[in-house]
């Protein structure tokens, strides 16, 4: 399988600390990859580096053969920030249409994205008047509106009910089946089971990069939650 995103020896300093310290990984094209790790481990920082808005100290990030953040990538990448980043004083539809227009897409494409996140009924509501979960979905609609080849989603299902979560994951799987590369950060382990591959990150270093089954096997358990804890504690033992 072809590599869509390649991170090599990435060092990112935020404040006084190195948040990512010599981080390397490769993410295959046409897959859903889960990015897991404790809070503050550097997931958002890694995603920001991949979409090209993070100042990096050294190392390289290559997306679809181009350096991260370069001009040709801006048509092919979709980024969902962890906190919803949509205009609160616009309606859902206006937000989606604005982001669609940046890619020269028509309002109909925007409406399709709103439909995909289940907000058709609320599309003429101001984002400011939405519930927290609805607001994240409005933000998600703007990330998927251009049907990007690379989709970077920072905790897209937080605050969603199980039915919606399931639908959203079906959607991500469909996008990957159509050839998109999807990177999803999450804290929810039953979601991790739906990924093709998992990247496990702790304090800015990669501690596992494998399929969910292989991660479970290497931790000697059937439960991904348990495997996750085991791997994180193992490493702690080693570094301590």
């Amino acid at each position: 399988m072809q590599t869509a995103i390649e991170v090599r020896d990435l060092v990112v300093r935020r404040g006084a600390r190195a948040v990512l310290d010599g981080f390397s990984c490769a993410i295959p094209q046409g897959s859903v990859t889960g990015l897991l790790g404790p809070s503050g481990s550097g997931k958002t920082t890694l995603m920001r580096a991949i979409v090209g808005v993070q100042i990096v100290a050294s190392g390289t990030v290559t997306v679809l053969g181009h350096p991260a953040g370069s001009v040709p990538l801006r048509r092919s990448i979709g980024y969902l920030t962890q906190a919803p980043s949509v205009y609160a004083d616009l309606t859902v539809a206006e937000n989606a249409r604005y982001f669609a227009s940046l890619y020269r897409l028509r309002p109909a494409d925007a409406d399709a994205a709103v439909e995909a996140v289940g907000l058709t009924g609320a599309r003429h509501q101001l984002v400011a008047d939405l519930s927290g979960g609805q607001r994240s979905r409005a933000s998600l609609a703007c990330a998927i509106v251009s049907r990007p080849e690379v989709l970077i989603l920072d905790e897209p299902t937080v605050g969603q009910d199980p039915v919606l979560r399931d639908e959203l994951w079906d959607h991500f799987r469909r996008l990957a089946a159509d050839g998109a590369t999807v990177l999803v950060s999450s804290h929810v382990m039953d979601e991790a089971n739906r990924c093709d591959r998992l990247l496990l990150i702790r304090e800015g270093t990669l501690i596992a990069d494998d399929t969910p089954a292989a991660v479970k096997r290497s931790a000697g358990t059937d439960d991904l939650d348990q495997a996750f804890l085991t791997l994180i504690r193992q490493r702690k033992g080693v570094t301590a």
């Binding site: 090209g52 100042i55 205009y87 616009l90 982001f99 020269r104």
Partner: protein
Amino acid sequence: MILASTVRRILSQLRHDPRTIAMIIVVPTLLITLIYFMYEGQPRVFDRIALTMLGVFPFIVMFLITSIAMLRERTTGTLERLFTTPVGKLDLLFGYGIAFGVAATAQAAVASGFAYWVLDMHTAGGVGLVILIAVANAVLGVALGLLCSAFARTEFQAVQFMPLVVAPQLLLCGLFVPRDDMAGWLQAISNVLPMSYSVEALTEVGMHTEPTGIMWRDLTVVVGAIVVALILGAATLRRRTA
């Protein structure tokens, strides 16, 4: 294309905020009415002060609105997200410049119309020039607002830039003390503040029936200041942040 939809987006945001629109349109008119009653019986003084204020109000209002709007783009993450899309920095800067320029034109037209036809303000030159200079001043406010928002991290800080940027320009523009009567060092400061030129341009319109060379020169200086502020603003917009 991206520029056009950005202008439309900013105007839609404004449209969903009728209270702000009302403030933009009504407040300058109210203040000029206040000046009218302050100088009742001294029409010459009213003419001079109201004319200056027609240039000053749009500057203040647009400076404030723009710095808050741009700060919001930064703090809500929309700016970060836009920088992962095909949007260019100039699309954003000109988007704000044009959108708020449109709002400023409406503001200047209403305030000037009211001053001329209800409060009976008199100028030797035409109302069109007054509006033109007022709009240039408003766009200057937009450009400086974009620039200053880069140095504010919170809305509290952004608001504090108003006295810093607006007050010296207002005090030294020649409204309170004629510029020729100021101490040399004050005059020197006044000479580098763009509002001095827009106020001088308005004064020229007040005194001469035809547009004068000084007026065109002053207007050129204001436009130059807009361009410089926009270039500096573009330099403060960074795709990558820490």
